[in-house]
Point group: C2
Chain length 193, copies 2
C-alpha cells in the first residue's frame, strides 16, 4: 500500500501563507514557496496541483483561522455590544502585531485578483456573504436587545460594518498608532447607538 504524506500539511500551509501574505500572489514565485515550505517542487505540485491551487488552500486556511478566532470571542461575549467590540478588537490586534505592514491577506488578494481570477472572485463572494451574515446576526441581536438603534436594518448596518473593516485593514497598513485606531473604531461604532 502507498506511502502516505509525511510533511505536516498545516505547517506547510502556515509557511506558505507567510510568503503569500508578504509578497502577494503575483509577487511570490514557486522558488519562494519551495524555500519557505522546505518542500520539494514536485511535492508541492503533487499535493497542491499548482501555485494557484496552493494559494486557494492558503486563503481557506487563513480564513478558517479568523473564523475560529471569531467564534471563540463570540462565545465569551454576552451582549451584542461586547461582541461587535470583540470582533473589531481582533482586527486591531492583528494590525498592532503586523510589524511589516502587510495588511490583511484576504483584502490584499481581493484587490489584486478578484477581477482577474474567477476562483478568487468566488472565494471573495462567499467570504463577503459569510462575514456580512455574521455581522448582520450580531446587529440584529443588538437591535432586539434595544442596545443598537433601528435607524437602518441589520443588513444595512452589516454592510456598513463590513466596509468599515476593510477600510480599517487598509488604514492599518500605514497607520498603526493604537490610540488613533481605537478612536477610529469607536467612531465607526457610534453609528449603532
Amino acid at each position: 500500500m502507498p506511502k502516505t504524506e509525511t510533511f505536516n500539511r498545516n505547517q506547510v500551509l502556515q509557511n506558505a501563507t507567510a510568503v503569500f501574505h508578504k509578497k502577494g500572489y503575483n509577487g511570490t514565485s514557486m522558488q519562494d514557496l519551495v524555500d519557505a515550505t522546505s518542500l520539494n517542487r514536485s511535492s508541492i505540485y503533487n499535493s497542491f496541483g499548482s501555485k494557484l491551487g496552493m494559494f486557494m488552500e492558503v486563503l481557506s486556511h487563513y480564513q478558517s483561522l479568523y473564523k475560529s478566532q471569531m467564534g471563540k470571542e463570540l462565545m465569551h461575549s454576552h451582549n451584542a455590544s461586547n461582541m461587535i467590540k470583540a470582533i473589531f478588537d481582533i482586527y486591531l490586534k492583528d494590525i498592532y502585531g503586523d510589524r511589516d505592514r502587510k495588511g490583511c491577506l484576504i483584502v490584499n488578494c481581493k484587490s489584486e485578483m478578484t477581477n482577474q481570477e474567477p476562483l478568487i472572485k468566488s472565494f471573495m463572494e462567499q467570504n463577503q456573504e459569510q462575514t456580512i451574515a455574521m455581522l448582520e446576526d450580531v446587529v440584529h441581536n443588538g437591535q432586539m436587545e434595544k442596545i443598537f438603534n433601528e435607524d437602518q436594518t441589520a443588513a444595512q448596518y452589516a454592510l456598513y460594518l463590513y466596509s468599515s473593516i476593510q477600510g480599517l485593514r487598509m488604514t492599518g497598513i500605514l497607520t498603526n498608532n493604537e490610540e488613533e485606531l481605537k478612536n477610529l473604531v469607536n467612531t465607526v461604532l457610534t453609528v449603532l447607538y
Copy 2:
C-alpha cells in the same frame, strides 16, 4: 538640434494606467505596456526609465485626475455638507462606472506594494496625508458652521472618513448596487451630524 518627443505623453500615461489598473503592478508585463501604449520598448525606457518609473508616473497622473475632479466639485459646493457629499459622490460614480471591478488604482497599489517598495510607501504616505488634510479642512469648516458636531476633532473625523473611503473602494469591487452603496455612504456620514 534634438528631435523632440513625438508621442502624446498624456495619452501614453492614460493607456498605461488602464493596464496597470486592470492587472496590477506585478501582473503587468513590459510587453503589456508596449502593446497598450504602442510605444517601442526602447522609447519606454528612454522616457520612463523603468517599469517602476513608468508606474510612478501613472500613479501621479491618476492622483492628479482625482485632485482636479475634487477641486472642481469643491468649488461648486457652498457648505461643508455638500462638499463632503460631493466627494463621496465622485467615488460612487467611479464605482458605478467600473465595469470590470478593478477598484481604485491607489488602494490596490497600497495593498500590493507598500510593504515591498519604498518609493510606493512614500507615495502612499503623502497621498494619505494630503487626503486627510483635505477632509480635515472640510470637516473643520462644517464644525465652524455648526453643521457637523464636535464629538470628535476634525482630525479624528478626517481619519474616519479616509478609512471609510478605502472601505468603500474595497466594497465597490464586489458590490455595485447603487442603492446599497448610497445607503452605505449615508450611514458613514450620519456620524458627522
